[in-house]
Amino acid sequence: MLNYLINGISLGSVYAIIALGYTMVYGIAKMLNFAHGDVIMIGGYVAYCATSYLGWPVLFCVLASVVVCIVLGIVIERLAYKPLRNASSLAVLITAIGVSYFLQNIALIIWTSNPKSFPNMVTLPPLVIGGLQISSVALVTIAACIVIMIALTLFTGKTKMGKAMRAVSEDKDAARLMGINVDATISLTFAIGSGLAAIAGVLLCSAYPTLMPTTGAMPGIKAFTAAVFGGIGSIPGAMLGGILLGIIEIFGKAYISTQLSDAIVFSVLILILLVKPTGLMGKKVNEKV
């Protein structure tokens, strides 16, 4: 029971890290970046190559993956989304789906469809408390999630750039009038989201070591669900949504049905949205006239 809970929190932490990318990009660019899940996959492959072909130490592999994904995120935004800044949200959505397939096919060409067996990057001994054994991957994942959460909260709450990011997410023209470079702020958001996706990719593949061009798709969709679940646009919401989703999924697998676990996850989303359309922590501030 406790084991399931920890597994759930650990899986949920991965979803949470991915969901942060979704929610930050949504908050600032008001778009759903459906290619986000595939950035995770690219991050996984980069780390895989760095360790398997180049034999780099773990930290360098993670770093390489983060750097590649950050650059990728910025390039995707510049080439695919920026020209559509004033287009309808439907056009942007379709473009995002296009980018998603593009990345999957690029991965297919480079790495083929043969699954790669991802080496566990967290090779520490498991933690044993009484009869409870917690894998080091789970521990590192949960720790990473907490650190990222605190760092992002401090960044958006205390730093000038973070506050500017919140200002841009609320009102782009007003932000411009303040002297805030809106395009640069959007790029920064994509960079942060994609960097987090890389970390999520390495953690995900360490826990579930099969790497394929479609590896990012399902966790991407689930993390998106988590972001909506928690209230899209809200950073603590993404965190809460991700972790709850992970717990629901693991408990669903353990006690109800392995095959139905995904269906359960998405049913919960539908239920939550029926009851509270803004998500668990979604907020609405009414404008005063």
Partner: protein, 235 residues
Amino acid sequence: MSMLKVEDINVYYGNIHAIKGISFEVNEGEIVTLIGANGAGKSTTLNTVAGLLKPATGSVEFEGSSLLGVPAHKIVNRGMALCPEGRRIFLQLSVQENLEMGAYTRSSAEIADLIADVYDRFPRLKERYKQIAGTLSGGEQQMLAMGRALMSKPKLMMLDEPSMGLAPILVEKIFQIIEELNKAGTTILLVEQNAQMALSIAHRSYVLETGRIVNMGTGDELLKDDTVRKAYLGG
């Protein structure tokens, strides 16, 4: 000396020709107002000067240098601030954070002094510095919007409908503050539907009608002008 010189600008929203060859200037130390009915192009004019909209033709010069092609976020550094229509404060940021954003291009050492100045002028904001801006009353939000614009220490402050939606007593207070700012050396370009109030504090004024300037003069002249009285001052 003319601080802001707008010459023959034409602005389009898609196919709609919103501004049809407007020219005007604002001299250092003046309060200049643009008055006119809804849809006359007043806000469009201010947004164009602030760089949010690009004129198809014409020129905008501030202190002798052209603003055409300068992105909006770089214009504030030249010494010009726009307090936009509908206030557009950041509702989810605190009062103090809103002010900090107003001085985004300044160093943090300067920001502390600037905030202190704004709090001196608007003590109400100081009382509420931690409060989320969305929870302020309409009058307080307007003060915050003005305080935020002042944070960039503008030489020219543009105000778009600062009296909108406010109780008469607050409107008077806002106009009093505008006059004080002007006396302290800030040049003011004011857009208002409340023509009576605007003309009474303005040195000079332009009357806009469907994208054109149809009349101009000193505030007193226009207050006495028959066509202006009929159209904007209720007879």
